[in-house]
Symmetry: C2
Subunit: 130 residues, 2 copies
């Protein structure tokens, strides 16, 4: 029995993976993995997710070049969440920010506005949205 | 329209909340919130979750005293994940560790073992499991 057998996947066979920047502990993103994505991530050392919208595996950076080299994998007490610590190249966020969490909620709780710098123009990486 | 109206809840009306330690950026846990839990968290400044197993609201620390004072709330690009930065008192994990992610997967991917120190004995906080 390996650690993968310990994991508790949800009704869709998925587990959330929180991705953390090895260099400064920033939380970069959250994505979903199925058992095969976990296996591929461990085997290749490249973060590999399951895209719920596109219904396919997705190696982070395969389009953008903004890869995530896995440095360590942790699991939580209930074995139903993964924490993946990575060496992130460039922007983790498809909107061109280092982290997907580039918006902070205002103290009055009314709005969420970006307080981060955009590293790249997404159109130059992913093409224009049609 | 406030930021809560922007959030995308899943089919169960829930959104994952990643909880990060304001003091050192460690990822402490992940829990789920519904719209009302988000509202209560913002209003009270105390992290409040929806327990899927107990089907009730759950103010972190109400049993253990290990409260989470909310310092900031962030949302991701897709508005379907929250990042809550907190001042954590004591142990975030019900197993007595500072973080729920106290287990690291071994380099061969086979096992996940604790590499963290237990802060408290859970039985002294939550009582013995019967």
């Amino acid at each position: 029995m390996t650690f993968i057998d310990e994991l508790k996947f949800n009704e869709q066979g998925l587990i959330p993976a929180i991705v953390q920047d090895e260099s400064n502990n920033a939380v970069l993103m959250m994505a979903w993995m199925d058992k095969e994505a976990v296996r591929r991530t461990l085997e290749t050392g490249r973060a590999t997710y399951w895209s719920r919208s596109r219904k396919k595996y997705w190696v982070k950076g395969e389009t953008s070049g903004h890869t995530q080299e896995v440095r360590s994998v942790r699991i939580d007490c209930d074995a139903d969440v993964l924490l993946i610590r990575v060496e992130q190249t460039g922007a983790a966020c498809h909107e061109g920010y280092r982290s997907c969490f580039f918006r902070a909620v205002s103290p009055d709780g009314k709005t969420a506005v970006s307080d981060q710098t955009r590293l790249i123009n997404p159109e130059t990486v992913y093409g224009k949205k049609s």
